[in-house]
Subunit: 121 residues, 2 copies
């Protein structure tokens, strides 16, 4: 077989509850990654697309964060309720879910419109 | 900033010592990921390229496994001694390290020339 058609990396990073950067997976349950895995399996996509656990993807303030390669599509604030839409629209249909995408200018930046200011809240 | 120019995922999966599929990181030290991180920092590539911890990449028999996106270049049997060459040649220079690459026909397959036969050794 060939490499995965798409490879979904789901941040499962867990930090202490009072950490200023927060946690994508505060409970350490890996529930979001499992939800992607289940959704792929239900649609017969399991062999062609992998939902992978990932360590910190370094976009913590927009988390829970998910990145899809080789598309280079970043999603932020992803919940289990969003998984079916991402899999159906983007993974199966090729159309990324616009409302969840991180803009390029929000990635790898110290400040952006969606990132809360530190020490002020 | 823009998304990472390259995103290196290093399998840090640890299984029990007697597991038939083995472990990419049997000691759970994450030493290979740390070596990539250090090599990137030393070359001033830290902000543009990320060395990420990953859960099981499912190419266990070829591990330790590393995949570089968006290039979709898979490496197998990677050791700390290979890190400088991968970073210098591929990440900085754009030329993947041929001797460590997994062939497409070795990825997501039940058998290939490099995968040991089970129950026979």
């Amino acid at each position: 077989m060939a490499p995965f058609e798409r490879h979904i990396f789901v941040c499962c990073n867990q930090r202490p509850p009072d950490h200023p950067r927060g946690s994508c997976d505060p409970g350490g349950t890996e529930a979001l990654q499992k939800a992607f895995k289940k959704a792929l399996a239900e649609r017969g996509l399991k062999r062609r697309v992998r939902a992978n656990k990932a360590g910190c993807l370094d976009q913590c303030e927009h988390g829970p964060t998910v990145v899809v390669y080789p598309d280079v599509v970043w999603y932020g604030r992803v919940t289990e309720a969003d998984v079916a839409e991402i899999v159906d629209s983007h993974i199966a249909g090729g159309v990324p879910v616009a409302r969840l995408r991180l803009a390029d200018e929000c990635i790898n930046t110290a400040s952006c419109p969606h990132r809360p200011k530190r020490n002020s809240e």
